[in-house]
């Protein structure tokens, strides 16, 4: 059966969380409750509370996380790189929604505590760092590159009309942060066989690319009860996407193309 409960050693130990108090002179204190797990410590995960003085902190959740790591607790692990929403490294679950820490302002999250957890239902490497090996393999499985049989003209690029470019414009903007796939209950239950919204959006991007000659083979590779049809149009993917893309619509379009070629 689907595992509705985590294995005992993955359940949060509610008594083990530590609290790091703000200094006495702090002006505007905000509490960050952050999931902590150290694979070497032989302990269950815990949630630590960090009181951060927002007066000396940048506006984004990532700013606060880096302040915590630099000034309060250097043992906190997280991925980050570009800090401007283009690398997809700092994807995490903030107040119950998957998003990028670098583009989510603390002010957007109301006035209460801010809860920060790793991306749901993924193996945790340490703290907020999850293992995305299979997620990247699923991306590779849809062959996200141009496949052609038509030789390119020797003297110019493969041309594309403005309308054709517009079809791949939005789906190409995916940064593979995994917010969508790890927000999808269907992906939680069947991540070994369901490709997930991110990989399917990438597949769609190449299916509708006017320069690609492998449209049929790409559709063949998706025609599967698990790879594609585990999508039950829950639409958490579209809700979660920090780039405002619409994987659910792309998956719907793939299903429509598969239906159209039957009749």
């Amino acid at each position: 059966m689907a595992e509705f409960k985590l294995p005992p050693n993955s359940r949060i130990d509610t008594r083990a969380g530590k609290t790091h108090r703000a200094s006495a002179g702090a002006k505007s204190v905000r509490t960050f409750k952050i999931y902590r797990f150290d694979p070497h410590a032989q302990q269950r995960p815990r949630v630590d509370s960090y009181e951060v003085d927002m007066a000396g902190c940048g506006p984004m959740v990532l700013d606060a996380l880096l302040k915590i790591k630099n000034e309060i607790d250097p043992t906190l692990s997280l991925r980050r790189s570009c800090r401007e929403g283009i690398c997809g490294s700092c994807a995490m679950n903030i107040n119950g929604l998957n998003t990028l820490a670098c583009t989510k302002a603390c002010d957007e999250l109301g006035r209460g505590d801010i809860n920060i957890f790793p991306l749901p239902h993924m193996p945790v490497v340490k703290d907020l760092v999850t293992d995305l090996t299979d997620f990247y393999a699923q991306y590779a499985a849809v062959k996200p590159w141009l496949q052609t049989r038509t030789p390119a003209a020797p003297d110019r690029e493969r041309l594309q009309s403005k309308d054709d470019q517009q079809r791949i414009d939005r789906p190409s903007a995916c940064i593979l942060c995994a917010c969508c796939s790890t927000a999808c209950p269907s992906y939680w239950w069947n991540s070994e066989r369901y490709l997930g919204p991110a990989a399917l959006l990438a597949a769609y991007r190449w299916i509708v690319d006017s320069r690609d000659d492998a449209t049929g083979e790409r559709l063949d590779a998706l025609e599967d009860p698990f790879r594609l049809y585990r999508c039950h149009t829950i639409m958490n993917c579209t809700e979660a996407c920090p780039k405002d893309l619409n994987p659910a619509k792309a998956i719907g379009a793939i299903k429509q193309m598969l239906a159209e070629r039957q009749h």
């Binding site: 059966m1 393999a137 998706l222 025609e223 599967d224 009860p225 594609l228």
Partner: protein
């Protein structure tokens, strides 16, 4: 532990080249069931009397047995497809999954057959 590559692991046994029919049937049966269930509900609620004789007479009247048999068949078909998806979603041990799928198939077939038989029996008796 397996040393298979992640790509081989997520590729599993390849694409089954199936699923379109299931998806299509689910939608077609749903679209047919929407007007049929509305008809059934309205017809039953507007029956002047709801005693045994009145209801069995209504079942046998005109096109009612045909539409009723169709409703039973499509409802069972649609439910079978839906239950199949739920089992495939949540049951991961191969043995239990196959057992569940077969059990659901059998139960839905039995339900459809007995429902249609009941409609025909009432309809043919009142026609005779």
């Amino acid at each position: 532990m397996s040393l298979r590559s992640p790509l081989a692991r997520v590729s599993y046994h390849g694409a089954a080249r199936d699923g379109v029919g299931h998806w299509w049937a689910q939608r077609v049966t749903a679209s047919a069931l929407a007007p049929l269930s509305a008809w059934l509900l309205v017809a039953l609620l507007t029956l002047p009397a709801s005693d045994y004789t009145a209801v069995t007479a209504w079942i046998g009247a005109g096109w009612n047995p045909v539409l009723l048999a169709l409703t039973v068949l499509l409802a069972c078909w649609h439910s079978w497809l839906g239950v199949q998806v739920i089992i495939e979603d949540y049951v991961h041990s191969p043995g239990r999954k196959i057992a569940g799928l077969l059990l659901s198939m059998g139960a839905h077939a039995l339900l459809a057959a007995s429902g249609i038989y009941a409609v025909l029996r009432i309809a043919l008796r009142s026609a005779a």
